[in-house]
Amino acid sequence: MNNLDNNNQLTDESPSEYSSDRLLKRQKKEKRFQLLGKLSVLASVSFLFILFISIIEKGSSAIRQSEVLLSIDLSTENFRQEVLMDPKKIRGSELNKLTRNSLIKLFPNVQSRSDRRMLYSLISSGARHELRDRIIQNRDLIGGIISVWLPLSDDADMYLKGNIKKDVPSNLRRFKDNQISWLDQLMSDGLVRKSFNFRFFTNGDSREPEIAGTLGALIGSFFTLLVTFLISFPIGVMAAIYLEEFSPKNRFTEIIEVNINNLAAVPSIVFGLLGLGVFLSFFEFPRSAPLVGGMVLSLMTLPTIIIVSRASLKAVPGSIREAALGLGASKMQMVLHHVLPLGMPGILTGGILGMARALGETAPLLMIGMVAFIVDIPTKIDDPSTALPVQIFLWADSPERAFVERTSAAIMLLLFFLLTMNFVAVLLRQKFEKRW
């Protein structure tokens, strides 16, 4: 109110339309306008918040995986002669049998075939791989009895995490009543624990959610981004330097400029189709490989990098260019010694943001076959592999209940990398902002 009084004093001698009424209206309008702005900010922040909350709520349980402690009899008489010479010859089915035997020892009164099959399904079918790896790593285990924590099946895990409700009739439930009673007994014997789900970070993809991991997709994404960066960054920066500093300004370069902007607006799936048609069909590059994925994504990132790089080169003041030229620097020296170093933080920021966009891109990768189900972890850029967002897409498509939490966990992982990249970009910008 104080404010208003002052204004009245000021306008005492002004024409009557400057009455306090009019002023009051104006102030109200101003306030309403600001309120709209505040509401918009609130809305956008809350969408983000809801997104994070829902993902974290769904995905956080994937951090732990239920395991069961079994003592497995690895006496020599259980193995073929061949295996005793070379443990690598061990078969999954042999280890399955040993695991099952140790389960039967715990539940001797489970007799019928169908009941036994249900009992066996408590243990993950991936358990034999872990057992095999362990034996190959340490062949002295053969001949003794070992106690190992093996992953429970996804259904058992879901039951323990409370995602399978007991009040649903047993015949409609994936996890049956007798399985529940066996699991409860194991729990009361202290043979069940929930431990850190390292498999999520160290395994490749799998049909079994409990042993499915993101490492394959992560490395696939890494190789893809590496290829993308190596192709799009040098080409993009060179093109930007030429267009900004050297090219004559005429009709032809204008057309190039417009088309670079157009290219940046092309939907990414079109680049995927281009990759399919050109890189795979015509050049016959390997399918599903990060090499081709990276090439396709660099097509998509290139215009962004060119545009951002040109903008940050343009932001370098002309006086710096004149200073260098006035001292007798050649144009190349001017660019390399002054303009490029000053524009570099901006270029890097744009490059990182472009890479972050490429990291989150799914559609073009579907087109070139990076959507395949690949268990092996890629070791080269032409190994078949998938990428993190595609992995999320694959898991989101899977019917198993346990893939729901893993999908969200993989999203969390992807978001972590995206946010880290954006954070680095912001840091770079802040560190080097306005040095002249």
């Binding site: 004559p248 300004k249 003041p317 006086s319 710096i320 260019r321 004149e322 200073a323 260098a324 030229l325 006035g326 001292l327 007798g328 620097a329 050649s330 144009k331 020296q333 010694h337 002054h338 000053l342 040095r435 002249w436």
Partner: protein, 255 residues
Amino acid sequence: MEDSIPKMRVENLDVSYFDKQALFSINLDITKNNITALIGPSGCGKSTFLRCLNRMNDVIDGCVVKGKVELDGSTIYDQRIDPVTLRAKVGIVFQKPNPFPKSIYDNVAYGPRIHGLANTNSELDDIVEKSLIRAGLWDEVKDRISDSGTSLSGGQQQRLCIARAIAVNPQVLLMDEPCSALDPIATARIEELMDELRNRYTIVIVTHSMQQAARVAQYTAFFHMGYLVEKGATEKMFTTPDDKRTQDYITGRFG
């Protein structure tokens, strides 16, 4: 003007930007070890003229230069003349101080480095020190030679730019309104400096301030609407100008 040999000679110079002509057949001799001031109202073409003297106009799109500009008798608008070597001989200081965002040392050392004027680091140190001394900045910055050039005050920055320009040992120094962004004290300092520098270099200065022209320049040229209206010894120009327009401008009737 006849008593000294012209360092630079401009004959029938026409300059146009795209279709707009900025300078019309300019003829001017620039005498050695003197200060020549170019005065005139805004947009009269004096800066354009200055930039023709070391081909800084080459980098401007659509700028066409016709006519003859000579440095020590050899024409500078020649296919065989590399503007890069020309600019080492004809240095320039701009209106706004524009030090590189690097250390004071690196600012001054940049020119000698790209032209290979120093073989060893100590030679380079010498050049930097000498240039800073000549620009009258050494005493103020010798203890913080590795600080950023942009951390200096405006007047110091401009003297740093002068030091940077003379570090490549030019014969002619062009100055495009070097004091217009500075306060009177810094201006006085630069004017003193110019007077000292003219023993070694030939200086051409564009200025908006007629007092400045009167104070520092031995010769003055008055530009108006793209024409060189009058040229001659400063004293005569400011006391008994031949042209009415010169008189009107000097007495403050327009401009």
